[in-house]
Symmetry: D2
Subunit: 336 residues, 4 copies
């Protein structure tokens, strides 16, 4: 960590500040006196140093981290790709995992029917919302516990492991048989939930928040990991910008950046990123070309009558085409 | 709600779609046939109509709401300002309420000492963080339950009602004696928490999310209100933009917009909006000039040694000046 | 265009407003009286109707366009892809055109040397900045007229047509022998420049502005086209967001959206979008997978000594690999 | 400037890099060898050091400026407020200057009539658009040269100095008698225009771009100032964000930040910032409370028939009230 001090600070003040940093954080402090300003360099484990606190000091001009603030999620300390294995399916390390299914679980026929179709098309996991985060309290809120029961039936019928979103720390027990627990974008910084999920040991699909940086996303992964659970899958699902043609703006660069900074698997959600069914195919292909380890795609047998997110859901027929192209592309990229 | 259909849709299809809307949502549907396109107008209570579902229909081009999607928070149905009274202090309706105190509760002397100072300066409420949302799992997470105990002691000593943030639905019992429960920006769309707070009947200070629109903020208020608790205070605390000189970008326009769309009280948090101590004064004055019902300001006796947010905390001496100017300005505005 | 009127407006006022719209814009106005609100539907060519003016009327609640405001750039009126041919090279219609070269032209050896290398790797066009838009007046501003001379020499030597940016309407004469004139992101809404370029008849590479929507970009293309020049190439180069790891945020969705809304060719600039050399390859591949008609890539023989944008420039060796992969991927996609 | 090098770089490489920096930029380089990384500190005038070039070097990890990159606009080198005097009216230094008038000049009666009204209400300057930047080529583009003639007539009649926008370097001669030349948000980084305006010596009203930072705005001021013209007035007019209730998001914090970083006068444009007539009053008051030196407000005698921006224009009657409140507030603030 580099701390630039303001002009004209006396040596006494600098020394007492250095001593304080050294004592409080167990770091070594080097001082470099320049003509116009003085710079302190902190050596050691600076991850616990609170930037805001340092900045609050009167004599400090600016502070700059040199080390990344995440440790367990950091590729530097874990050069190999993390590969998460769930019921024989692998996520990470150059495999392509497709998670597909409806936005909301609606009834047995719907979820089982879609599960059969996406399995046939090559999906490795079934998704389906049981607890639904909706902007309006007057919108359908999901089948909740019953939705999870139906997902488990579809799993039994098709063998597909299931992925579904958790919305409250109070519901963790209901997720005991869920294969991958999803944390939605709106809960990415629900830190108490993250800590509790860290204690479950289950694979966690962590969606990037609407206005969260790449680094903040890695810090949320770090919350789960530092609570003892290293099975975290990162998911880029678009961020919020001024552009309103699409529901969100897919930050495709986040895919290679996450892969470079972290060893965790990275998947992309083209459905929420765009909010438009016909964009799912080109965004899926671009995600795979950018190096994503997988996709999570909303598929519905009857989008106009979907209880949520119909506009961005593709039909099973359209999904057949998308999955085929994705696997073909992945093969072509492997030859490069 | 206005639904614009695509070109060249047959009358049969239009009729069956209209009938479906009418049946599913209990609304009346008027059809207007134009030369190039057909428009449907939905009449009645359209708040339950799911825009996404309508958009997912093949024959629909675009959909536009005419009614706002919030009802209980809507000034149209509640023209008078809501005034929330807490231990004799009023928030809303042209009063200026100042909530002040440290980012984090650190120890008895700190919280009681600051409480005395901000009370003397004219603050009506004491703030202090017990549960702290921090980006890093390695940062100080707050004194938690003990922090609430210390706040209650400061309340006992000074008579100031207390405001503190809740981070998990699991902690609600700990907040039984808290006067105003704060929902932080990162939890603004933690819908399960909002519903649970709706059941408490306690005044809720709802902070706008980092990337949430004014309408979404009102919809989150609606979650609390529709669960039975109408005591919601809205708080503008800056949104996330490309500008990086300030920690966030204070959306000052949100103040008069919230006041026009809703009857709920609106306060401003200049400390989090800017992240910089010397901006707290000008932003406080501008908030009051824009019509805010109050302010929430971070005050710390020793900012460089604050356990969190030191850079944006003002000293008690600086707070004396700010409060004096704010009250003076409020008086001048009342004469306009 | 759909105009929703406020509640409780008298029929007389509505009639006189309808008559005015009809008279001023030559459109037919249909009125639909609902229970709570009245809706006007404008039929005919509504592209000249000024939304702001309509909104300024006291009786108007909201206005919604049904027709897109662009005509010449609109795929509806021109279903086939526009293919622009320059010196035997095609841009658009499923071809992949790569434009490559240094950020700034620095001297004869540099530009000719790079030109040879990018030609050998498969680039169809040479780029190089002669007039350089720089945030600081104290940064290198380009070789200006001399830079264009050097580009023309490189063209003579290699046969590659050249692409270079114009910064002022005053310089148009200097661009007489330039093959494709680039309008930079900062000038995308320099409307006087766009009109003047419309009069040149030369192919124009139009970069999307840092904070401009897809629709605004098409409106800027419309400026050039309505001034008589239909040879416009759209370029997505990233937009400005809160994410600061990358220089900009590549809006990959803009590629398929531009292709659907317009018949114009669409290329991607991964160098400016990311600002980081090692991101150029994955972003190039993702752009091609998303359907881009080409790429514009910064290549420099000695990035650390480039006079501008060194951090995002790739070496000729790295470019060899990128071009090879891009062509391989394009071939694989053609087989889908 | 602080340059953090990557881990494990040999001393030879560091020395040759330091020597190069020293030689190329005339700065002194101090080296601080840490355990894990090495830091270089550049001393002297680092404003000409190209950050991008430094970053492009293989051995560099990150670079951080300590000095601001603007010099002439910097308050450090010019502690006193710049006060610009135009025809006896002062802008800057604690005065409140109101610039008011229609978005577009439409005809003699309109501009002269509005001029009389805004003068009577206390405006010091008349604004009016002659050259109009419009998103659509099919919208009214302004009366152009004739518009300037009409403004000059209104000036003759009322004595109010005039402010109007320039859109092209080609039109500078037409602005010979204009008192303050406005650079619009879309041209804030039209650097060739800025340089040319630097040569005119006339007061320049520089609007912040839609997606430009505070620092970039100061760099654009620096372009004008380094070309010899120090009479620059900064104008905050809202930036582009995800919020769509208002046309833009007024960044009120920019006012005190500009005032702290620079000595130049700062005004606010509440009309463009909000796009809504009823927001002009609260935003004007908040701007003055935040320390603005003035306001630029759109006033139209008949907003529904304005040829542009009617929705955000206030009537002369409404302007009377706003101006009265603004002056009253300014007086109250002076007593603080």
């Amino acid at each position: 960590m580099i701390i630039v001090l303001k002009d004209g600070i006396g040596k006494d003040k600098i020394k007492s500040f250095s001593d304080e940093l050294s004592r409080d954080y167990g770091v070594k402090v080097n001082t470099w006196f320049g003509t116009h300003s003085t710079v302190l360099g902190l050596i050691g484990d600076t991850q616990s140093v609170d930037i805001e606190r340092v900045q609050a000091n009167d004599i400090v001009d600016t502070v700059k981290r040199v080390q990344e603030p995440y440790k367990k999620a950091n590729r530097k300390f874990h050069p190999d790709d993390t590969v998460i294995e769930v019921a024989g399916r692998k996520i990470g390390g150059g495999n392509i995992a497709i998670i597909a299914g409806p936005c909301s679980v609606e009834n047995r026929d719907q979820i089982c029917g879609i599960a059969e179709r996406v399995k046939a098309a090559g999906a490795s996991f079934l998704r389906g919302g049981a607890f639904k985060p909706r902007t309006s309290p007057y919108s359908f809120q999901g089948l909740r516990a019953e939705g999870i029961e139906l997902l488990l039936e579809a799993k039994k019928q098709t063998g597909l492991p299931i992925v579904t979103e958790i919305m409250s720390i109070n519901h963790i027990d209901l997720f005991a048989d869920v294969d991958i627990i999803q944390v939605g974008a709106r809960n990415m910084q629900n830190f108490e939930l993250l800590k509790a999920l860290g204690a479950t040991g289950k694979p966690i699909l962590l969606k990037r928040g609407l206005a969260n940086t790449i680094e903040e996303t890695l810090m949320s992964a770090e919350y789960i990991m530092s609570a003892g659970n290293e099975k975290v899958i990162l998911c880029e699902r678009g961020v919020r910008t001024f552009e309103d043609y699409t529901r969100n703006t897919l930050d495709i660069s986040a895919v290679p950046v996450f892969k470079r900074l972290s060893h965790l698997p990275v998947i992309v959600d083209p459905s929420h990123a765009s909010g438009i069914d016909w964009l799912v195919e080109p965004l899926s292909l671009s995600a795979v070309a950018a190096g994503a380890d997988g996709l999570i795609i909303e598929v519905h047998n009857d989008p106009p009558h979907a209880l949520s997110d119909g506009a961005q859901s593709v039909t099973p027929d359209a999904f057949d085409v998308i999955a085929k192209k994705v696997f073909h592309l992945k093969k072509a990229l492997a030859d490069l």
